[in-house]
Symmetry: C2
Subunit: 224 residues, 2 copies
C-alpha cells in the first residue's frame, strides 16, 4: 500500500519505507468506499486532506432545479479538495462521490501541519499542488472574463494554433464540450462560429478550422 | 518599521520584536519604488514573496490591442502574487506597478521556506492567505460559469437579497461595474435586465430592484 501512496503528488520524492515511518508518528485513517457512496457533502467543512490510494471520485453539484452536474473526476493516486483546507471559509462547494470501489488516506489538518514540520519535502509538494491548482483556476477565469463569445473563440483558436503550430487546427472538443468550457449554450456557440465563418475570419468544416485572418481575430480579444 | 510589517497578514499574531529577530536569520530586502514605477513585469518568474509595508500597487494587463486594463489594487499592509509562488509555471500574469511611493519587503522562496520551518505561525498564515485567495477565485469562476446573463443576474440578485435580507434590494454596483463583473458588455446586461423586468420577474428602477417571482428567477440558474 505504501508504494501506492508514494505515487501520489503529495509524497513525491519520498520512498514507501520512509512514508510508512512518517505516518507512524501522526494520526491518519484509511477508509474504503463503495461505488456511488458519498464521501463528503457540499457544505461540509473541509478540514482534512484526502489522498486517493485506489479508485476514483467525482465532484458534483446539484443545481437549483435539482439537476446533478459533474464538475470533475479525480483518479488515484491524487489528492482532492486540498486547496480549501486552510481557508477561513473552508466549506466544500461540491458533493464528493466514489465512482467505483475507492480507498482513501485521510489526514486531518493539524496532523498535516505536523507532517509539514517534520518533512520539508511534503510541505513543498503541498505548496506546489496548491499553487498549480491556483494557476489553473486563474487561467480559466481569465478566459471566461473575455466578454464576447467571439473573443473566447478567438482566444481558444489561437491557443490551439500555437500548440499545433499551424493556422489550420483540429479542435480537441465537440461543440457541446466547447460550449460547457466557455460557460455558454451550444446554440450561442454555433451562431458565433457561423458568424466568424461568414465574415471570412475562419473556414470551419467540422472539427477542422482554418484561421484566415489572424489580425481580425485578435481584434475580438479586446475587452472594451 | 517592524510594527508596520507585523500588521501584514503573513505576520499576523507575531509581535514586532519577534519579527525583527526572525528576519535577522534569513536573507531579505526592503525596496522603495517611486509612484508609477514598474515593480515586476508580466511573464517574470514569481520566485519571491512581496509584502507591502507602505503605499499601494496595482496589477495591470495590456490586452492584444494595446489597451491597459487594471486588474486589482493592493494596499499596505498586504501581500501580493503569493499564490503563484510555488507553481511549476510561476510566471506573473500581470504587470505590477506602484500607485504611489511604495515600500516593499521582499523574501525569496527559499528563505520563505526557512521561515516556514522556523515559525509555524507564519506557515499557517501563508496557507490561510493562499487558501482564501483560492476560495475567492473559485467563487468568481462558479459565477462566470453560469451560462446565461439572466442566470448571472438571478444569482447576483439572490446573493444580495440574502445579504440584505429583503426581496427589495439596492444594487452595490453601477451597470458598467456589473457588466465588468459578469464579463459581458453593458448593452447585453441592460437588455437582460429589461427582459427580466418586462417578463414581470423583477421590478427595476435605478439601483432598486424588487424581486417579484423568486421561483421563476431560480429557473434561470439551471445550466442546461
Amino acid at each position: 500500500m505504501y508504494t501506492k501512496i508514494s505515487e501520489s503528488p503529495i509524497f513525491k520524492g519520498i520512498n514507501p519505507g520512509e512514508i510508512a515511518h512518517i505516518l507512524n508518528f501522526i494520526h491518519h485513517q484509511i477508509k474504503s468506499f463503495e461505488s456511488e457512496e458519498i464521501i463528503a457533502y457540499s457544505g461540509d467543512k473541509c478540514d482534512k486532506l484526502f489522498i486517493l490510494i485506489e479508485g476514483s471520485i467525482r465532484g458534483e453539484v446539484v443545481d437549483y432545479s435539482g439537476k446533478v452536474i459533474k464538475i470533475e473526476d479525480v483518479f488515484a493516486p491524487d489528492t482532492f479538495a486540498e486547496a480549501f483546507l486552510f481557508a477561513d471559509d473552508n466549506k466544500l462547494l461540491v458533493n464528493i462521490v466514489a465512482n467505483l470501489e475507492t480507498k482513501i488516506l485521510i489526514i486531518y489538518k493539524n496532523d498535516l501541519l505536523k507532517l509539514f514540520n517534520s518533512n520539508n519535502r511534503i510541505l513543498e509538494n503541498y505548496l506546489r499542488i496548491v499553487s498549480n491548482r491556483f494557476v489553473t483556476v486563474t487561467g480559466k477565469l481569465k478566459f471566461l472574463s473575455l466578454k464576447t463569445i467571439k473573443g473566447k473563440l478567438a482566444f481558444y483558436f489561437m491557443q490551439i494554433s500555437n500548440k499545433q503550430k499551424s493556422k489550420t487546427i483540429i479542435l480537441d472538443k465537440t461543440q457541446q464540450q466547447l460550449a460547457d468550457y466557455f460557460g455558454i449554450t451550444r446554440p450561442s456557440l454555433a451562431r458565433s462560429m457561423r458568424e466568424l465563418n461568414n465574415e471570412g475570419l475562419i473556414k470551419a468544416s467540422g472539427k477542422k478550422i482554418e484561421i484566415l485572418e489572424m489580425g481580425e481575430m485578435k481584434k475580438h480579444l479586446r475587452n472594451d
